[in-house]
């Protein structure tokens, strides 16, 4: 039973819990204690160290900022104003807080505020829905558009929008990149004729892709009045991120084991069967390596693209908070930073799980 548990934890990338499980069953206590120290205690210590450095750093920056404020008041308005400023800063009053790197505690506070905010907005939405339910039914029966909630999205809503965008972009990348990679991989003529294009387009910055997509999408959606910002952002994300998959797929397809190709030749498999039964399965591991890179690139560029495209999501959240300049804006930006990092890590884990599932060389299943 717990062997299965160990397998599952390993499979989802939580292998560091293995010694805990083993120790709880009384297996090799010395070895497992060392493993726990190494795999759990040491990382925890490094997290504490990180928080310590952060705290000290933000404290130092706070002091520099506070001192400069007091000095400014002293130079401008004299002794009394400086003392007043000092009292104001020490009292923690919002109006005169130094604006700098927030401390871990402040960031945690901002995180809680954001969650609370989400609850409030959620409740608001629910109330709105209940209120308009009857009216909307009536409107739809009359053939009019229902009234929708147009209030401010909460932080969690932004996260969900970002994840939706990244998945849409990723799917687009799969549908474009894998077929192109396969075709290019199969024919060395095509490979050498399109290589220049790939090599030139690959390093193009996300910003330029966004502008390019904007030019095209703007013209294509001229007649419709739907919001094209979502289309623009996911298409740009897909185009930016797909190159790793193109290159990896082409490489996987062009380097299929010669023995497999010989077998296909001897058995005179049709072109279709050759591609789908021999070439694609054997290049799957490399294709997946490409997809994993694509996915992490997609998540990375998404934030920048949302920021520029003004489409809702974490990127515009960060940008709005920066523009906003409220007292806790800096803390909220740092919260967003961690959320982006953690979600990126989880998405990569997800891809890794799928990869181990489909690749044939590893033992499959639990």
């Amino acid at each position: 039973m717990s062997d299965k548990l160990i397998k599952i934890t390993r499979f989802v990338g939580l292998g560091f819990f293995e010694p805990v499980i083993r120790l709880s069953r009384g297996e090799e206590s010395k070895k497992n204690t060392i493993l726990i120290l190494k795999k759990i205690v040491a990382p925890l210590a490094s997290i504490l160290l990180f928080l310590g450095v952060w705290q000290a750093g933000s404290q130092a920056l706070y002091n520099i900022e506070a001192d400069s404020r007091i000095e400014k008041a002293f130079n401008g308005q004299g002794q009394a104003a400086a003392a007043e400023m000092r009292i104001c800063i020490e009292s923690g009053d919002v109006s005169c807080q130094p604006n700098t790197l927030p401390s871990p505690a402040q960031v945690y506070g901002a995180f809680k505020t954001l969650l609370k905010d989400h609850k409030v907005i959620n409740a608001d939405k629910k109330r709105f829905k209940e209120k308009t339910a009857i009216l909307n039914k009536q409107r739809t029966s009359e053939g009019k558009n229902p009234i929708v909630y147009t209030g401010r999205p909460s932080f969690v809503d932004q996260i969900i929008t970002s994840i939706k965008t990244v998945f849409a972009g990723f799917l687009l990348a799969i549908f474009i990149a894998v077929p192109i990679g396969v075709v290019i991989g199969l024919s060395s003529t095509l490979r050498s004729s399109f290589n220049w294009l790939i090599q030139i387009l690959k390093p193009v910055s996300p910003v330029v892709w966004l502008l390019l997509v904007f030019m095209v999408v703007k013209t294509l959606t001229k007649d419709s009045n739907t919001d094209s910002s979502f289309i623009i952002s996911f298409v740009s994300v897909g185009l930016c991120a797909m190159w790793a998959t193109v290159v990896n797929t082409a490489m996987g397809v062009s380097t299929v084991d010669k023995d497999f190709i010989n077998v296909a030749k001897v058995l005179k498999l049709s072109a279709f069967q050759k591609v789908f039964k021999v070439i694609l399965p054997s290049s799957l591991p490399l294709i997946f390596t490409g997809l994993r890179i694509t996915f992490s690139v997609a998540w990375m560029v998404l934030i920048a693209i949302e920021l520029l495209a003004q489409s809702p999501g974490l990127g515009s959240f960060v940008w709005e908070e920066f523009q906003n300049g409220a007292n806790d804006s800096n803390s909220k930006i740092i919260v967003a930073m961690f959320v982006i990092g953690i979600i990126g890590f989880l998405l990569d884990r997800l891809m890794l799980i799928i990869q181990t599932f489909v690749s044939f060389s590893k033992n499959e299943g639990i």
Binding site: D257, D259, F260, N262, V263, K265, V266, L267, K268, L269, S270, Q273, K277, V278, P281, S282, L284, F360, S361
Partner: protein, 269 residues
């Protein structure tokens, strides 16, 4: 005609010949001029004959076999099966490769099915499956139909390779040192599997080997190739043991050591 002259030399009647290599030549162009691997190579193989080819490494045995399989273009002369010259690879010539070359992501059954689907495309699914299962059974893999190739040992994988080659019912079977990568115990087992299934099917077979004992045990005729470049047939030795053979009977036969000495003498000079 040239080929008729050679036929006369060998004393085989036209109707008896399954595989005919006439004046075969293989040249690899190199920056320093052409490198001739094989030249003036003539070999006829009768229907239902099993021949083994021995020779030093690098003498062009594998090149010759892959030319027969159609995987390697011919530089001169020709190859014909039942009088028809070959054009590229085809299922009339089954190949058992040196490495098992199974698709590791497929089950044993699917690997055999890959070729069967192609050759017996009009048969029902059940019929095709029965063919695959019959041959997998013959090579001793009853319990492993649905095991993935990657999970099988090297010896088991080569058993699947044998089943795959026989299941498409080729006219000629080409074996490129199929047991070269196996340990001697497994090699013995697989020789028995191969000869047992061959006794039933009697498919004309051409097998490359390094192993003199294997060459004698399996073959009706052992073909010795000279060392390259310009390799050709150096000598031939007809093995007159009765079939079906058992390893014990072959080793205890009076002529066995005579044959063995003859082959080793050839290889050492």
């Amino acid at each position: 005609m040239k080929s008729e002259r050679i036929l006369a030399q060998n004393g085989f009647a036209q109707s008896e010949i399954m595989l005919d290599l006439y004046d075969l030549k293989k040249v690899y162009p190199t920056p320093k001029g052409d490198y001739v691997v094989l030249e003036h190579l003539n070999l006829q193989v009768k229907k239902e004959e099993f021949i083994t080819i021995i020779g030093h490494s690098g003498c062009g045995k594998t090149t010759m076999l892959s030319m027969i399989a159609g995987l390697n273009p011919i530089s001169g002369g020709g190859i014909s099966v039942l009088g028809n010259s070959i054009k590229g690879p085809g299922p009339d010539r089954g190949v058992i490769f040196q490495s098992p070359s199974l698709m590791p992501w497929m089950t044993a059954l699917d690997n055999v099915m890959l070729g069967v689907n192609r050759v017996f495309s009009h048969a029902t699914k059940k019929q095709k499956e029965d063919i695959c299962k019959y041959y997998l059974h013959k090579v001793g893999l009853e319990g492993a139909f649905n095991k993935r190739a990657a999970e099988l040992s090297q010896g088991m994988q080569q058993r699947v390779g044998i089943a795959r080659a026989f299941a498409i019912k080729p006219k000629v079977l080409l074996l490129d040192e199929p047991f070269g990568m196996l340990d001697s115990l497994t090699r013995g087992e697989l020789q028995d599997v191969l000869i047992e299934i061959w006794n039933k099917e009697k498919i004309t077979a051409v097998m490359i080997t390094h192993d003199v004992d294997e060459a004698i045990f399996l073959a009706d005729r052992v073909v010795m190739m000279t060392s390259g470049p310009n390799a050709k047939i150096g000598d031939m030795l007809t093995i007159d043991f009765e079939r079906p053979r058992t390893r014990k009977a072959v080793i205890e036969h009076d002529d066995y050591y005579k044959y063995r000495k003859y082959l080793i003498d050839f290889l050492e000079h």
